[in-house]
Amino acid sequence: MTAPQGAAIDRRIRRRTAVAVLAVVAVVAVFIVRLVSIQVVQADTLNAESFDKLSNQVAIDGLRGDIVDNDGTVLATTVLRYDITASPKSVSDIERTAADGTETTVTPQQAAAEIATILGTSSDEIYGLLTADPTSNFAYVARNVDVDTFRAIRDLGIWWLYYSSNQQRSYPNGAVAGSVVGFMDDEGEGVAGVEQIENTCLTGKDGVETSELSGDGVAIPGTTETTVEAEQGGTVVLTLDSDLQWFSQQALLARIQETGADWGTVVVQEVKTGKLLAVADYPSVDPNDVDATADADRGSIAFQAPFEPGSTFKALTAASVLDAGAATVATQVEAPYIYTDANGASTRDSSYHDGPLRLTFAGVMQESSNTGTAMLGELLSSEQRYDYIEKFHMTSPSEVGFPAESGGILSPWDEWDDQTNMTTTFGQGISTTAIQIASLYQTLGNGGVRLPVQLVEGCQAADGTMTEVPDATGEQIVPSTVSTDVVNMLETVVTGGYAKTSLEIPGYRVAAKTGTAQMSDGSGAYGSSYITSVAGLAPAEDPQYVVSVTIAKPVTIESALAAAPVFQEIMSQVLKENRVLPSTVPGPDLQTTY
């Protein structure tokens, strides 16, 4: 090898090396550019993309809270129901391996038959759903099935079926307190009763949990992250007693059926706290099956439907007259059958009597004399009486704030005509709700202190803290001497009135007032039907409970005798259930005639 040759080879080698090095550098440079592009420039987009593919978002249900009664009995709760859907596109034969290893093939028809057996429908129907649109990827097979059905269908192992759960409201006690508890609409919003009043408390907030999934759908350790914390809805505690509530509804309905009446309500309230223990309505809704009840009957009559109370309202007139000092329990009145006042307005007693009845104020109550009450009531001016009516909260809705709650109907005193001026003394020409009447008797039983009507104890969080506890500050409406006098007068109704035997409760002193009000015929005049009612307190010496019963349009009995047995039965039950000891002090036995 010569020197020039060697030099040439050297050069070539060097050139080759240089080319090779350059090539390597170029390739590496490309790699680096790509690397930087992927790792730095596009990093965020790519990460997000891959996260979308890998990650799995699970909604954590923030369940709507329960509604419970005063001892925790569940009146409304949230349950999970399942929707079963299919992918008609994928509907095909299923291979099933039995425990012993034998393989069977199930055709879609057979699968449809199996599903139909579980759902209790026809197999043709299910097969029809599966094959209605073979290009579709989605078809409902069944909606809102319970856990047992869901499990049975899932265990069939049909791979082209899909399952999803959704929240449903369930009311374990059915129509017990149904009209008060209310119900929800299809969008999951409370649209009636407590479901509506306490919607904010009850509503939970769904949370989100994200995790990355491996190929077989198992979360990769360390990737689970709660992105949004789920919040369970609060529990609404009611003041109602579900047993008493049921008893009231049952007793009311039994009597309504017996007397052929149209509708009715019962309100039971605790005198010393203002808490409602039972609010029974008929007709009433079973919130589990709202559609079964006519639209107009889905509310609560006690809160929403004002009616002319009739004679139970005389207790208010009595309290007003006594408080104004215009009369005493012993004030004597000659009550004629027909009474015409100075304005020319006239009224008559419910039953005919020849001569005037010589009654004391207490006797007027006992006899429920309209003429006597009008004479005594008119000792006060219209304005005075209106002020008392207003003071007793007969013109404003209760503190419960029930949806569409009525505050009664009464025109201002200066718009009263002569007849209204008179009839308002005995509860005609004025409309009140059953709740307002119960509240009136609560005031009289509680030494003249009216307590706010309470239906909801509060909103209980998961940790037991109670919020939204309603104010329970009382308001002295009339002095206790006045309220005691009125209660004593009302006691004479039970000891000697016409409904005596239907009202008496052995062993207990009861103060009550009957009412038989004419119902408006809807066109400004009175029709031929009546609203019968009884409102009362027991035990009379230290009233603990108010029971107010209203039965509208009874056919077989058109007096308060329609409502009296229900009052007696429910009051007995209240006293029994709450272990109220029988009265030991004899009643005052006020003089009623002279």
């Binding site: 319970d146 009311y171 059915g174 129509a175 049952q250 309905l253 039994a254 079973d286």
Partner: protein
């Protein structure tokens, strides 16, 4: 050691030891000597070949040099450590993914149990509804009690008038609907029917005072009595 840089010359010991002066008196007795040439003085073939290749004289490292030289122990420690870490890592991730599957399966199990719990709670709530309780009580021949009387322990006074239970208007058929109860009520009625057929008195709810008094239920077991100290 005074002179760290000094490499000590050593001769192989053995036959020539007497001829060579001891150069460094500080040489520790434990100092390893390179005895390549003399370790097998028996003249075996191996020692022969080694003798041929082995240098006659070697530089013996000083103690400090030897110390500075990497030791096999370190290598072992590092390699074992790395291996241990790798294995631990492996075991950990195996454990973790195992755990992931366990968590997934337990979560599935919990979901199933929650579902069972929900079903049972639903049934329990529906069965404890007043409608169902009242119906069941009636089919068992029970009637609602009247006004109770109380016995005051302090003076033995009887408050109220004791009277036999006479039933009430609330008995006799469920009037308050509960659509949840339809399947449950069926079982309750089936239960009640067998009881009613066994007890003819209970089958006539129109005469409700009869069964409570005429049919004595024999007491089973010891009489209940309060525990006092």
């Amino acid at each position: 050691m005074s002179n760290l840089a000094t490499a000590h010359m050593l001769r192989p010991s053995g036959a020539f030891s007497s001829a060579a002066p001891a150069i460094d008196p500080e040489i520790d007795s434990d100092l390893e000597l390179d005895l390549a040439g003399v370790s097998a003085p028996d003249g075996s073939p191996d020692s022969d070949s080694r003798r041929r290749r082995a240098p006659w004289i070697q530089i013996a490292p000083s103690r400090s040099q030897r110390r500075a030289r990497p030791k096999i122990a370190y290598a072992i420690v590092v390699v074992t450590g790395v291996l241990a870490i790798v294995i631990t890592q492996l075991l950990l991730s195996v454990g973790l993914s195992d755990g992931a599957y366990e968590i997934a399966s337990l979560q599935q199990q919990q979901r199933e149990l929650d579902r069972t719990n929900q079903t049972l709670t639903e049934r329990f709530d529906a069965l404890s509804s007043p409608q169902n309780l009242a119906t069941s009580a009636e089919t068992l021949g029970m009637v609602a009690g009247g006004t109770p009387a109380y016995l005051r322990l302090s003076d033995g006074a009887v408050l109220g008038t004791p009277s036999p239970a006479a039933g009430s208007a609330v008995s006799g058929g469920q009037l308050i609907p509960n659509s949840l109860l339809t399947p449950a009520a069926a079982t309750a009625t089936a239960d009640g029917a067998s009881t009613a057929s066994a007890d003819p008195a209970a089958a006539t709810p129109s005469a409700p005072t009869v069964p409570a008094q005429s049919t004595d239920v024999p007491w089973q077991g010891a009489l209940p009595s309060p525990t006092t100290h």
